[in-house]
């Protein structure tokens, strides 16, 4: 009985929620920051053990399969490194008086609740439970985006709140429709919301009902992914919240929402008569890539710049999964992993920069490689990685996506490649002024830790040079699962 409580899938939920309670009660902010790191580390270890231990029986609420292990491991790992960055970042925010100790207790508690909600959404086998978890994740991030209580932060939080709530409402309507489609086949009650049962019986579902449901789900969860027509909250939320939260938003929360879309995509793909979900995702993905690529040119705020870059990359990932097939799915998974690592590393660098320079305006930041060599070159490395240059990991995944698309839909591949090139140009244009030239502004040394930044970049570089065999096999399995 006791052993049952300590299975990894329970631990990834129990540790964050227990830690949230503890940090909310402890008054000392240094201690709570350490506790935050420790809890995130334990959660990551529990998640990593999922790879090695036997899978638990699939229940009506929790599910562990090849697909979600990848997501859980990635999100707990980035959650852990971000907590390390956050612990050093926060000290500076205290000194400058932007945050009070009470704010910080709240911040750490919310951080752990967010980890809990994301893990819950990932392990949920019940589509209703998954919805509730994503709602909790939205609420906690809204609170954290608004934590500085400035006019801009409150406005960003409000916008995120309203758009996020509408997205969540649409997703719930889609979930209800899925239940309606399942009820005549599976029968009333809990079983008709259990994903593993749904996927088995999906062949017999009413196809029209599934079609309408998927449109609602794609729009609803797509809002949280930040896909193009419904992305408006994303840049503001990234720009105004604390930087560790920008890293978590871009690196993790967008993935979790995408995971929800993928689960429902599999449901539709299993029904032969329902519309193919791929083209819808391809359209939204491609729109996001093009839109974000052109918007990158007009950015004057460094965090907004990389927020738009996140929209672009989520578009690429949605595009890859929309194309489907073993190679595109494999590339999509790889791209998602690489993007999470790279983008959170970039936000770590941006956090250092904003703290040293006291501004997020691109015009006021110059010559970083001269004034802060380690930080400046870290940023250069991050931007080189994110714009898809070899030999880093994103080059490989983007290359796979474009080349596999060329073989099937050459026109789409051309459009995608144009989007990638436009974004590449914009990022390098900005990087040139940020990293090189005569330094402007404060020359003070940075205080926060560089370890998370460079450990992420090392992983991205290693993945670009050599992917270990077991990882490739694992991703290939998942790609097959995704269809």
């Amino acid at each position: 009985m006791i052993a049952l409580l300590f299975t990894p899938e329970i631990l990834v939920l129990a540790i964050p929620i227990a830690a949230a309670g503890m940090v909310a009660l402890l008054p000392n902010y240094r201690l709570t920051a350490r506790l935050n790191v420790l809890a995130a580390l334990c959660t990551f270890l529990a998640a990593a053990s999922l790879f090695f231990l036997d899978r638990p029986e699939t229940g009506s609420y929790l599910l562990i399969d090849d697909l979600n292990i990848v997501f859980i491991a990635l999100s707990t790992f980035v959650g852990f490194t971000t907590s390390v960055f956050s612990a050093t970042y926060i000290a500076h925010e205290m000194e400058t008086g932007r945050l009070t100790p009470v704010n910080l207790r709240f911040y750490h508690a919310m951080y752990q609740v967010l980890m809990f909600a994301m893990n819950l959404a990932l392990v949920a086998n019940n589509v209703g439970l998954m919805w509730v978890a994503i709602e909790i994740a939205t609420l906690t991030t809204v609170l954290m985006v608004g934590i500085y209580r400035t006019h801009e932060a409150l406005e960003a939080a409000w916008k995120y709140f309203i758009l996020g709530s509408v997205g969540i409402a649409l997703a719930l309507f889609g979930t209800i429709l899925v239940y309606m489609a399942a009820r005549p086949v599976v029968g009333e009650g809990l079983d008709a919301m259990v994903w593993t049962i749904l996927i088995k019986e999906s062949v017999y579902f009413e196809p029209e009902l599934l079609n309408v449901a998927f449109v609602f789900l794609l729009l609803g969860y797509g809002t949280k992914v930040g896909l193009a027509p419904v992305h408006a909250w994303l840049p503001d939320a990234h720009a105004e919240g604390p930087t560790p939260i920008s890293a978590v938003l871009s690196g993790l929360l967008l993935n979790v929402a995408l995971y929800a879309v993928l689960r429902f995509k599999m449901l539709l793909a299993a029904n032969p008569v329902a519309i193919a979900p791929g083209p819808l995702m391809v359209t939204m993905g491609l729109t996001s890539v093009l839109f974000a690529a052109f918007m990158l040119y007009r950015r004057r705020d460094i965090k907004r710049l990389f927020a738009y870059s996140s929209i672009e990359h989520m578009g690429i990932i949605a595009f890859a999964f929309g194309m489907g097939g073993p190679i595109a799915n494999f590339a999509g998974l790889l791209h998602m992993t690489m993007h999470s690592l790279t983008k959170s590393a970039i936000f770590f660098a941006v956090g250092h920069i904003a703290q040293v320079k006291g501004t997020q305006k691109i015009a006021d930041i110059r010559g970083l490689t001269v004034s802060h060599p380690v930080l400046g070159w870290g940023l250069v490395l991050g931007v080189v990685a994110i714009s898809g240059l070899p030999p880093l990991g994103i080059f490989m995944s983007e290359f796979l996506i474009v080349s596999s698309t060329f073989a099937r839909e050459p026109l789409l591949a051309i459009v995608l490649a144009v989007g990638l090139l436009v974004a590449f140009g914009a990022l390098f244009l900005r990087l040139n002024t940020l990293a090189f030239g005569e330094p402007v502004g404060s020359l003070a040394p940075t205080t926060a830790s560089y370890v998370p930044l460079f450990s992420h970049m090392a992983l991205v570089l290693a993945a670009g040079l050599y992917l270990p065999g077991p990882l490739v096999t694992w991703f290939q399995n998942v790609a097959r699962l995704l269809g």
Binding site: F161, V166, I176
Partner: protein
Amino acid sequence: MPGLEFDIAHLLAGGLVLVSFMLLYQDRISALLNVFALHAFVLAVSVAWEAHIQDAPHLYVTAAIALVFKAIVIPVALHRIMRRLGIHREIETVVGIGPTMLAGIGLVALSMVVMLRVTEEADPLTREDLAFALSVVLLGLLIMVTRRNAVSQVVGFMSLENGLVLAATGAKGMPLVVEISVAFSILIAFIVIGIFLFRIRERFDTVDVLVLDQYRGDRQ
């Protein structure tokens, strides 16, 4: 007698759509809040009736939440916030009331066409409930996009959410309905507290969203 049960459920769900239309043409915040209280009341009766005909006692909890929280607590709280913040103003709309009403009729027609066609296999009560629920959801969205005032956007969101609760209770035997309605109540409580905090901190001079939109971080 199934005929009568069906008719009453139909009447109540249709009534909810009608009250949604009433929300569309209110031009004063206090009147809007009163109509919203009516909206939540109709929802509560409708959910209670569903609980009765489906023989599902847990739905009474959802009905009670709708009645106590949404029909009484939230409108009263918003009225008080309005008085405290001194917003007795009229609601600024983006589009005139005439075109908004026409758009609303179009949305209801759209949801009828979509939902009635895709649910041909389902039993008639569920079909029509879903069609009405989607109408309420879409009208809620319409209220949110045609209003500039934060309080009326919240009212739009709450009416949208009422539509979702209607859909969830109409889907016979759906699990987690009570949990979902509780989750939504928490969400709404957060929104209302948020409005209050915005002003308490005196960061915003107004709760007019147009003024908020003037801030565009990187477009000077």
